[in-house]
Subunit: 201 residues, 2 copies
DNA sequence: CCCTTTCTTTAGCGGTCGCTACAATAAAAG
DNA sequence: CTTTTATTGTAGCGACCGCTAAAGAAAGGG
């Protein structure tokens, strides 16, 4: 049951990973098709046939990024026993990854399209929506923490969620600027001092 | 004592301000010469004669930005009576400005060149150096606070300065994503909870 | 074998990029 | 006035952008 026609000569997922790294390092507009095809080891028509174009490739690369690297954010929020442990794990796990020399620094969702030409507004909006989802996930976990009695009843979960998201986004900028893991960790240690006092549990 | 030759027909500083807004909104690489000349109301040769080129214009626009908008950071650190008041003023003043509808949102130094092609590495490095200077200024002010007895002797000023810089950078991302001033203010309120306890004064 | 289908490479499309040669223009200097 | 100096608008440079037409190449179906 092989497909008809000539089989693809390259590994699609491997090429997608290479493209992800290029977008991650240079941003959407900073990554040219020449950069992408060189990294993927293919020619433009192969890219177009397999992925549809630059923007479609980017969106798929972002999806792949979220599946691989956005995973521990969702996992931490879901699996950690307390809201406090969840938020702490989100910050520390992401910070550790932001400086992993195995790939570009910082978060691709934060850094790949911070400024865009009007022609690529859609790309910017797409990543902004993903950032908003992260903030909502964190805020939702905090709300559960209030309901579970881990946090005071009068906790402003919106403010707290906005704060930790702000820190998370700031860590990406710091990582891209060359901050080391101990430096990021030190910032996280300070940030967690702001965790509300008066927990019941 | 007028200069020789034909006088310039446009206001140089006004054109520089217009260029700053374009760079601020679209980033260095996202701002084309056509965008810039259209906003400045001049033709490319006038831009080149008056400013030297795109990168030189950008650097001058950044300098102008720092003079106008970076001003209250330096002023707050210099004029506020305590380290605590200084850092709080830096955060609140900048946040208020990040969402000022009179100009693009967020901080130009943070957002205008977060990702660059290798050809424009110099622009990226220039802004990174400015961000580092901000962090060092904040950290220096914290160290003075320790020396003045406002902060505990064992305060990790590097960690605290890194934390507030992380928050400051994160606020730019949040502002660019459409966060309102109350939302940014709420994050700042939380961040200041992390201020070390045990001050003498 | 040939035909169909799909991927491959080559080559290049129209458009935009940052930048500049050139000639016309407008001022001061003599 | 003429000469000198500098800015102006026009018009277009070579290079690169994302993308694709065209033809060759590699598979299955007959």
């Amino acid at each position: 049951m092989s497909p008809r026609g000539r089989p693809r000569a390259f590994d699609r997922e491997g090429a997608l990973t290479k493209a992800m790294y290029v977008f991650w390092a240079r941003g959407y507009e900073g990554a040219s098709l020449a950069d992408l095809t060189a990294a993927m080891g293919i020619n433009p028509p192969s890219l177009y046939a397999a992925f549809g174009g630059k923007e479609a490739l980017f969106r798929e690369a972002v999806k792949h990024y979220c599946a691989v690297y956005g995973g521990f954010t969702e996992r931490a929020l879901r699996e950690q026993p307390t809201a406090r442990a969840a938020v702490e794990a989100v910050l520390r796990d992401n910070a550790r990854d932001y400086v992993d020399p195995a790939h570009p620094s910082g978060c691709m969702v934060v850094l790949a399209a911070t400024n865009c030409t009007p022609a690529n507004q859609g790309v910017h909006d797409h990543l902004r929506a993903l950032r908003r989802e992260t903030q909502e996930s964190i805020t939702r976990r905090l709300r559960e923490g209030v309901e579970d009695g881990e946090l005071p009843e009068d906790t402003d979960v919106e403010a707290l969620g906005g704060f930790f998201t702000t820190v998370l986004n700031g860590l990406s900028v710091q990582a891209r600027d060359g901050a080391t893991l101990p430096e990021l960790t030190a910032s996280i240690d300070v940030a967690l001092v702001a965790w509300p006092a008066g927990a019941r549990e």
